[in-house]
């Protein structure tokens, strides 16, 4: 279920959704978190994501297990991209599917929140002017 929790390539959410497709599961919720370049974000062109990759895989498995304990009929998949991610492209995708939509929304939100809180991933922002900085939190 947790195939390819880490990828160096653009995230393909349609494939993640297809992996969870099951006629018993009527509701599917997908989250994409993208590199933002908004008014408060400066001229970020790229974020370089690095990770403690073995632990990302292990922690995602634990997060999905925690989700299953709360929503036993939901299934989840998640993927974090590492390396250079241009502004506007997703760095993380989480998909949850369940027989009914409530559990799918709640399980997806839980996995996203826990992933942001628990995954050992770091980001270095690169700006238009060639500078860069670690961005924490």
């Amino acid at each position: 279920m947790m195939s390819a929790a880490i990828t160096r390539n653009p995230i393909d959410v349609a494939t993640l959704i297809t992996q969870l497709a099951d006629p018993r599961l009527g509701g599917t919720v997908a989250f994409l978190g993208s590199v933002r370049r908004g008014p408060e974000d400066g001229a970020v062109t790229v974020i370089e994501y690095s990770a403690y990759e073995d632990m990302v895989v292990a922690e995602l498995e634990r997060i999905v297990r925690d989700a299953r304990a709360q929503w036993p009929d939901a299934v989840c998949a998640a993927q974090h991209r590492v390396g250079s991610v241009p502004a506007g492209e997703p760095s993380i995708a989480v998909v949850a599917a369940a027989p009914h939509r409530g559990a799918a929304f709640e399980a997806c939100r839980f996995v996203v929140d826990e992933a942001k809180r628990r995954l050992p991933v770091w980001k270095r922002e690169r700006f238009e002017d060639g500078t860069s900085q670690w961005r924490e939190g």
């Binding site: 978190g33 994501y49 690095s50 990770a51 403690y52 073995d54 632990m55 990302v56 292990a58 922690e59 634990r62 974090h80 760095s91 993380i92 996203v112 992933a115 942001k116 809180r117 628990r118 995954l119 050992p120 991933v121 770091w122 980001k123 270095r124 670690w134 961005r135 924490e136 939190g137």
Partner: protein
């Protein structure tokens, strides 16, 4: 013999430290081997790294840590062969 094939000295254990992201930059390295007293906690190991490893004092007193790919508190007791990871503030997603 521990699992790395090293002799375990009387009353000490060997662990592997790993430094990530900004911590690796601060120390100029991404890891080191460390020998600590048997019964040492994560907190003990962190203090040893801060004293014994070059630029170790650039690390915070109480960094986030993980042992064998799992988040742990500072009072977690280390075992021979453990991998202790020093984690800057997380910024995933």
């Amino acid at each position: 013999m521990n699992k790395h094939g090293q002799a375990v000295s009387n009353g000490t254990i060997s662990i592997r430290c790993r430094f990530f992201a900004r911590f690796a930059e601060l120390l100029g390295r991404d890891g080191c081997e460390l020998t600590v007293p048997a019964g040492a906690t994560v907190s003990d190991a962190v203090q040893l790294v801060r004293q014994a490893v070059e630029h170790g004092d650039r690390l915070p007193d109480t960094p986030l840590t993980a042992v064998n790919c799992e988040h742990v508190h500072a009072d977690h007791r280390l075992a021979d062969g453990d991998e202790l990871a020093f984690l800057p503030p997380l910024a995933g997603g």
